[in-house]
């Protein structure tokens, strides 16, 4: 059953090739990475099969084969169900010899994998889930969070917009823990920067029609409408705002969790002008462009987003740490090594992994281009500011992680 998939998507047994004389030969055990993702549901486009591709590219670029490292990648579909994800994770660790679990979009599944990974002393390199609890109250010595999190999104967008004069906010908040967290974190930043929150409305998950809530936002006369939601809810609220002329009338939309795939799904005519923070953009330098080109060829022409870049970077860094240890080691030991070494690769650039498991790197505040400004496929973002790594993420002491001190 698994074989089919491995040959189709993953199958990355890399043979031990001729080794240049100067390279240190790896003598540790073979490695197995499991990409646990949403392969067919809501998050399939922004992580899913693309994450498997990203992991394979990282192994290739690290030159694992030439260094004598045998690395295998397998994929699994958690279907956004925590119990399905948990049973795959357990089976991977107990039976299939998986060393590392990657990606895991959907916070409920990620928190379950976080627990199991600690219990089995393996490694969880998360880049799919947004919850900043993974490096806060729920942090473990076995988990590292790549790419982005809720705090970073809220902070980047909130701060920048208040500075631009968007000092009154109204929130459309998805009615569950994730939405509350986004609203809470953003409100805190807005108020700290001297802005005011005019109100908020809690919207049930998977609401089809946002026009009623958008009218409430309009009536509040707030300058900024914060979209504390994700996926289909975000795209539907953006569409509604365009249709009801809310953005034209001068209110600004701030997406608190938007991926480049959402922008692609909406199309520029609708998405234009939307401002948000993103953990990565493909069109920033020659290396990222080259990566995007390779990636899109393998991914039906779809470009990589922050989660894909995060998977790439985390795999690359993991291999670096294992190569440095060069022996059999348990999960916590490898993670410790990963925290000692600075991260550097051609896709995510330079960064570090903090003691709480947060990988930090510069992030971007972006605005979606107007259709006439877009010159090539997936040319969607205008980068307004680059937020430096040490400002982009939550300060160590504020997270409540037990590993700090």
């Amino acid at each position: 059953m698994k074989k089919l998939y491995q040959t189709m998507l993953a199958g990355a047994f890399l043979a031990v090739a001729a080794v240049p004389a100067y390279a240190q030969q790896y003598s540790g055990p073979p490695l197995k990475l499991g990409v646990l993702s949403d392969m067919s549901g809501l998050y399939a486009d922004l992580s899913g099969p693309g994450s498997v591709i990203a992991a394979k590219l990282a192994i290739e670029d690290f030159g694992a084969a030439a260094k004598g490292m045998k690395v295998e990648v397998i994929g699994g579909d958690h279907q956004n169900k925590a119990d399905v994800g948990a049973s795959i994770a357990r089976q991977w660790y107990d039976q299939d010899g998986v060393d590392v679990i990657l990606d895991v979009p959907n916070s409920a599944v990620a928190l379950a994998v976080n627990d199991i990974t600690k219990e089995k002393n393996k490694i969880f390199l998360n880049s799919g889930a947004a919850s900043s609890d993974l490096t806060g109250s729920k942090c473990t010595p076995n988990t590292i969070h790549w790419a982005y999190d809720t705090w970073m999104l809220a902070n980047g967008t909130g701060k920048a917009l208040v500075k631009q004069g968007g000092d009154t906010w109204f929130f459309l908040t998805a009615d569950y823990a994730f939405g509350y967290a986004l609203e809470r974190d953003t409100s805190a930043v807005v108020q700290k920067e001297g802005g005011k929150v005019a109100g908020s409305v809690r919207v049930p998950l998977n609401t089809q029609d946002f026009s009623s809530f958008l009218l409430q936002a309009q009536a509040s006369k707030a300058k900024v409408i914060g979209l504390a939601n994700a996926g289909g809810d975000t795209t539907n609220s953006i569409k509604g705002a365009a249709e009801f002329g809310i953005t034209k009338a001068g209110q600004k939309l701030a997406g608190l969790l938007v991926d480049i795939n959402d922008v692609h799904a909406l199309g520029l005519p609708v998405a234009q002008g939307l401002t948000f923070t993103d953990g990565w953009y493909w069109d920033t330098n020659d290396d990222t462009r080259k990566f995007a080109e390779r990636f899109s060829k393998l991914n039906n022409g779809k470009y990589p987003g922050k989660i894909h870049a995060g998977v790439y970077s985390s795999v690359y860094h993991y291999l670096k740490a294992v190569y440095a240890i060069n022996a059999k080691a348990d999960g916590a030991t490898v993670v410790k090594k990963m925290k000692e070494l600075p991260t550097e690769d051609s896709v995510m650039g330079k960064g570090t992994v903090r003691v709480d498991g947060r990988q930090i790197h510069p992030v971007y505040l972006v605005e979606v281009k107007k259709p006439e400004e877009s010159k090539k496929p997936w040319d969607y973002y205008k980068i307004l500011t680059t937020i430096p790594a040490d400002e982009a993420f939550r300060p160590l002491k504020d997270g409540g992680c037990s590993l700090v001190n």
């Binding site: 067919s40 119990d83 948990a86 919850s131």
Partner: protein, 322 residues
């Protein structure tokens, strides 16, 4: 639906209690974990119990509830909360979750049991959606994150369930006993009345049975056992989430029962095993899993209305007849 599905089942009901299937089941439960990954097996057993308990209502009383996820999910949340926050021992946490499912079953049952046919399906769905809403809103359920890192704890305060094999033994015993209980109930005078209600409600009424009382009792019983399955599931996976209260879960259990054989005792368990295996081992196929499930649904309705076990039983009795 039952009027067409249940003829063989009712004839087999008259047969004396047979111990053979239980011997087979016991052997399967004992050697199972050496062949199959125990966590997966526990999951399959939980769903098997879910489907068998659901079948008390569909297969033996003729009521199609489209809201049984409410009992599964609610019990799962309650026992997870009891074990994690109140620190109850696992058997107490499970009992508590099951008891809540029973109370919920009684309340929803009293309100819905008079509806018939499609109206019954719809009104149970309506209540299940309200339970879903409650679980999404209530503080203790943790919203879409669910209740995570629930400790399995020590059975009776003594035996640690942390090891998968010990947990498996515990789950297998619960499953075996529940299964025995369902079998006993179906073959009791009470079970006979239920079947009479299913075949012809008016006749049962005219015979002097308080049909609604019997239906309600079956509903509560079904809800309680479904709750047991949910409570155990929460401890097995050490989490409770919205998946188990969503209406898709109510649909899934219909699929399991239909596939295995409505109105057969072992059928739903077999159906559950097949569906759970598909979800687990075909997971890499992505959306195709849904398509395959749909195809199975259609095939069952079109050609195998008696399900896997029902069809096998038919073949068996045909062969014996010759």
């Amino acid at each position: 639906m039952s009027a067409h599905a249940g003829t063989t089942a009712s004839s087999s009901a008259a047969a004396p209690l047979s111990w053979k299937p239980f011997a087979v089941l016991a052997i399967f439960l004992i050697i199972g974990p050496s062949l199959i990954y125990p966590v997966f097996l526990m999951k399959a057993l939980c769903f098997a119990l879910f489907a068998c308990a659901f079948n008390i209502l569909l297969g033996f009383t003729g009521l199609l509830s489209f809201g049984h996820a409410a009992f599964l999910g609610m019990a799962s949340y309650v026992s997870a909360h009891a074990a994690k926050v109140w620190g109850l021992t696992p058997e107490l946490a499970i009992l508590f979750g099951t008891a809540i499912a029973m109370v919920l079953g009684l309340v929803i049952g009293m309100l819905t049991i008079r509806s018939r046919g499609i109206y019954f399906s719809n009104i149970t769905l309506a209540f299940a959606q309200m339970v879903f809403f409650f679980c999404l809103q209530a503080k203790f359920t943790g919203g879409e994150d669910g209740i995570q890192s629930v400790a399995r704890g020590r059975l009776f305060g003594l035996i640690s369930l942390q090891s998968d094999m010990v947990m498996y033994a515990f789950v297998a015993v619960i499953f075996f006993l529940s299964f025995l209980l369902i079998y006993r109930i179906i073959h009791s005078p009470f079970g006979q009345v239920l079947r009479a209600v299913r075949e012809n409600e008016a006749r049962a009424t005219s015979l002097g049975y308080k049909v609604e009382h019997y239906k309600l009792a079956a509903f509560v019983l079904s809800a309680t056992l479904v709750g047991l399955a949910g409570a155990v599931k929460a401890l097995v996976f050490q989490l409770a989430s919205l998946t188990d209260v969503s209406w898709q879960m109510s649909g899934e259990v219909v699929l399991m029962t239909l596939l295995g054989g409505v109105g057969t005792i072992f059928g739903p368990a077999v159906g559950a095993l097949v569906i759970v295996s598909m979800e687990n081992y075909l997971a890499e196929l992505g959306s195709w899993v849904t398509v395959i499930q749909g195809v199975i649904f259609v095939l069952c309705v079109m050609f195998f209305r008696r399900g896997i076990v029902g069809t096998l039983m038919d073949l068996w009795s045909k062969r014996n007849a010759h």
